[in-house]
Amino acid sequence: MKVSITVNGKKQESDVEPRTLLVHYIRETLGLTGTNVGCDTSSCGACTIHLDGEAVKSCTILAVQADGTSLTTIEGLAKDGVMHPMQTAFMENHGLQCGYCTPGMVMAAIGLLKENPKPTEDEVRMGLEGNLCRCTGYHNIVKSVLAAAGAK
């Protein structure tokens, strides 16, 4: 099936099998491997992207369902060689270790602040419930998101 999806500001026309998950379209058809896959139950959130500005797990929808939408992946966040403030906040607060959950975590965190620009620590923790990290114990992830909220 033909799909037309704007990805990181660029319109992409592709022919995909109907059963293709959006995450596989992003990784395999477009070669954007920054979006990771960490589970098979939509539990881990490593594949979180923005679909029309909203954070979604890209393993939960089919590529054909995204026809006509606009996506942002982790590769589309930095502008002119400058990282997004959320990326900078993660770096400055050691919010990542192995980095595998990080792209999804960053996308989810940006989505969280969009809905709630000045969250409390508890709100950040609740807001990131769908994204798992095995390295950081979340401490510095929460700190990063709070720092990004303060920096806005």
Partner: protein, 797 residues
């Protein structure tokens, strides 16, 4: 203790941001499954749905008809592909039983997930579709799931061995024969406890992924794998496949966490390599999460019987421990050694006489093999001694902190030769514990507890603690030899100053989240007097870093980092001879500071390292016999383990009506000696603590009586999310290690070691007024509620 001979800059000890981060934050970093290898065939592995069964027949004819499927192999088909069975590098006793273990099962499957057939297809979808089309007839056998059932040998798994027992490993240390028994007879107080270390799934966020790329006309083969151990893997795959070692190159690209689960030689690595050579094409495999929970090693899995004898003051007079270890179906790389890593730590941080009787018996079960998982043996040991100390304090009706104070090895006793003969290089347990108590506001919490924990209250406050030693920094090679480990414990480093005064550090460590590139650059920058950004750190590719023993056991800094410092020293020594030659003075007359050699007393007669590096490159004016270039290589074998220690405390509130446990405060005071980068140290502690909390409250690999894993994905296996865990307050004391020039100790596993007993002792403390004295892990709301019910109904169910 000085950090370095010369103190040119102060890079060490600063919170330098990680250079690893930008590629990881922007999606640029390449994990193994991100590698684009044209023409790669896709491997899928058909896995046994039975824990224990004979394979009657395998019919692949229908699967072979699926478009894209190239070939399908069974265990029998590949029998001649292996020069030897899969390796176990730790035959802990001479008579250890080790069943032959091949990448695919041959006549019989021994756990759910055991490989049965390998499918090669031109694409992933076809290879997975073929899984459903293979018809395997099994004859199910009785599964052995329970450790005590396994010990009985009622059903023997590996019939050729005649028993389910793999080995018994004793460690009996007695001042005089029979003194342990005597101590127990004489003891004023005795406790006898039984603890279960549930099986855990390491669950690194990146599932395993592999690509083997052969070079059909040269015979070389490159293995890309999400591994912690590229160097060990190179040797082991060469031996297992019968390939000359020099033809094997192993690369670990970005690796998404390991926690021990990627410290192994796996069936899929061997299958990818063997099949890529058979088909003269690259072969790739990527693990699904529900496959990961069965086909990647699990951790823990022990039943512990612990006894303490104490005199009238609570001073411990003897320790007796009996362990049953769950090996799973086969022995993986270091499976049998895991209980041994804890064997020396069942006296914890306490000063005990030579009256120690430890014995571990390890058995096979029809479950996924176990192996090293963060802490490997040491969290188990620390849990047992710390919970037993809590039990002893209850028996004596004294505060457990007070009991610990009476038993801590005192600061002035270090270096302390323990009952076992091991030397604990440094420590100050009381200082760390008192700091933790202060940060926790111990007195305030106790006062609040009195107010809150009144009869009828449903929200009860509890305070828990544990003090630990982490025996890490694996390890002095001679000690490993005495434990029958097949390899050494050294680490290699090369330091090279390039003509333009930029520095290359090549390390044998293999990071997967620990930030070695940043920390190792800091060490070299400090030593050589250059900026950290001028230091490049190369690793995790055996073609670049030829020598190394990789990353596990909190060894990377105390062994690998120290090797880098030593290589820098060698570089400075060589540079000094060149400087002396060019400045026309004796080497003894020179001093090195801020990246410059100068003649003592005449600072104007000086040469910067930059000039020497360029001079060493042109080789126009070198002293007689001096080789060109500024480079040094070191293989460093540490003289001792590293002994980080600390005390953790936490405050919990337990809801007696729901069984829910909330951690209100978690304090971790850790001492890892000098810190290279405190930012990274804290990160390691945070993550470690949460993995320990996860064992205490959430996680368990749950099996049914037939050996089926009931928690086989991330929807069922409860890895905590951000909202499930508290923020962690870290503190530290600094007791530099006297055994290495950096004064450093490991920190990767400390958090995990300290956390589980801290949380469980807090829950028991909260419920002590209700008569609760034990708490199984994970202390889920259901478990807590049931334990309360059992205690309050007088022990009746």
């Amino acid at each position: 203790m000085t950090i370095t001979e010369n103190k040119p800059t102060s890079v060490i000890g600063t919170r330098l941001l990680r250079r690893e981060d930008p590629p990881l934050l922007t999606g640029e970093a390449k994990f193994t499954n991100d590698l684009n290898i044209p023409g790669a065939l896709h491997l899928s592995v058909l896995r046994s749905p039975y824990a224990h069964a004979k394979i009657k027949s395998i019919d692949v004819s229908a699967a072979l008809k699926i478009a894209g499927v190239i070939a399908i192999y069974t265990g029998k088909d590949l029998q001649s592909s292996w020069a030897s069975p899969m390796p176990c590098a730790w035959p802990v006793t001479a008579d250890m039983k080790n069943p032959a273990h091949y990448p695919l099962a041959i006549d019989k499957v021994n756990y759910v997930g055991d490989g049965v057939a390998a499918i090669l297809a031109t694409n992933e979808v076809a290879s997975r579709d073929a899984l459903d089309a293979i018809d395997v007839q099994y004859e199910p056998l009785k599964a052995v799931v329970d450790l005590e059932d396994s010990l009985s040998d009622k059903n023997v798994i590996h019939t050729e061995l005649g028993t389910n027992k793999s080995y018994t490993w004793p460690l009996l240390v007695e001042e005089t024969p029979g003194c342990v028994e005597e101590a127990f007879k004489k003891a004023k107080y005795k406790v006898k406890e039984r603890y279960v270390q549930q099986r855990l799934i390491p669950m690194a966020m990146e599932p395993r992924a592999i690509v083997a790329v052969p070079q059909p006309f040269g015979g070389d083969i490159t293995l890309y794998s999400s591994t912690q151990i590229p160097h060990i893997l190179k040797v082991m795959t060469a031996l297992t496949l019968g390939i000359p070692e020099q033809q094997v190159r192993v690369v670990a690209p970005s690796v998404g966490g390991g926690f021990g689960s990627k410290l192994d030689v796996y069936a899929e690595e061997l299958l990818c390599m063997a099949l890529s050579r058979k088909h003269n094409a690259p072969v790739r495999w990527v693990e699904e999460r529900s496959e990961n929970t069965q086909a990647t090693i699990q951790g823990r899995g022990q039943i512990q019987h612990v006894e303490l004898a104490a005199d009238e003051n609570g001073k411990i007079t003897a320790v007796r421990v009996r362990i049953v270890g769950d090996m799973g179906a086969y022995l993986q790389l270091v499976t049998p050694g895991v209980p041994l890593l804890g064997a020396f730590l069942y006296a914890g941080v306490y000063d005990i006489p030579k009256a120690y009787d430890f014995e571990c018996t390890s058995v096979f079960t029809n479950l996924t093999p176990t192996d090293a998982y963060r802490g490997a043996g040491r969290p188990e040991a620390t849990y047992a001694i710390e919970m037993a100390m809590e039990a002893l304090a209850r028996a004596m009706k004294i505060d457990s902190f007070e009991l610990r104070k009476r038993n801590y090895i005192k600061k002035e006793q270090f270096p302390y030769v323990a009952f076992s003969g091991l030397t604990y290089d440094s420590g100050d347990h009381l200082l760390a514990a008192e700091k933790a108590a202060k940060m926790t506001d111990l007195a305030g919490v106790r006062a609040q507890q009195k107010k809150q924990n009144v009869p009828g209250a449903t929200k009860l406050l509890g305070l828990g603690m544990s003090s630990y030693f982490e025996m890490c920094g694996l390890a002095p090679s001679r000690v490993l030899a005495s434990l029958n480990y097949s390899a050494g414990g050294w680490e290699a480093a090369t330091v090279r100053v390039l003509p333009t005064n930029k520095v290359q550090v090549i390390t044998g460590t293999s990071p997967h989240g620990q930030g070695h590139e940043t920390s190792w650059a800091m060490i070299a920058a400090e030593k050589l007097g250059v900026a950290p950004e001028d230091v490049d750190v190369l690793h995790s590719d055996t073609a670049i870093s030829a020598l190394g023993l990789d990353t596990y056991g909190s060894r990377s800094l105390p062994v690998g980092g120290v090797a880098i410092a030593l290589a820098c020293d060698k570089v400075i020594e060589k540079a000094k001879t060149i400087a002396a030659h060019q400045l026309e003075c004796a080497t003894e007359d020179l001093q090195f500071a801020n990246g410059t050699f100068s003649v003592k007393g005449s600072p104007d007669r000086a040469l910067p390292l930059a000039a020497i590096a360029f001079g060493a490159f042109t080789a126009h004016n070198l002293p007689e016999g001096c080789e060109p270039n500024l480079e040094a290589q070191v293989s460093y074998d540490p003289p001792n383990f590293s002994w980080p220690f600390g005390t953790h405390m936490c405050v919990v509130e337990v809801d007696t009506e729901t069984g829910a446990v909330e951690i209100l405060k978690y304090i971790a005071v850790d001492d890892c000696g000098n810190q290279i980068n405190p930012l990274i140290v804290e990160g390691q502690v945070h993550g470690g603590v949460v993995q320990g909390i996860a064992q205490a409250l959430f996680e368990e690999a749950v099996y049914d009586e037939d050996g089926n894993l009931k928690s086989s994905n991330l929807a069922e296996y409860l890895v905590p999310a951000a909202c499930d865990v508290p923020s962690i307050t870290t503190g530290h004391t600094i007791t530099p290690s006297p055994t290495n020039q950096l004064g450093v100790k490991g920190i990767g596993e400390a958090g995990t070691i300290g956390a589980a007993p801290t949380v469980i002792s807090a829950i028991i403390d909260a419920l002590s007024g209700l008569g609760v004295t034990t708490m199984a892990m994970p202390a889920s709301p259901q478990t807590v509620w049931k334990t309360i019910q059992a205690a309050t109904s007088g022990g009746k169910k």
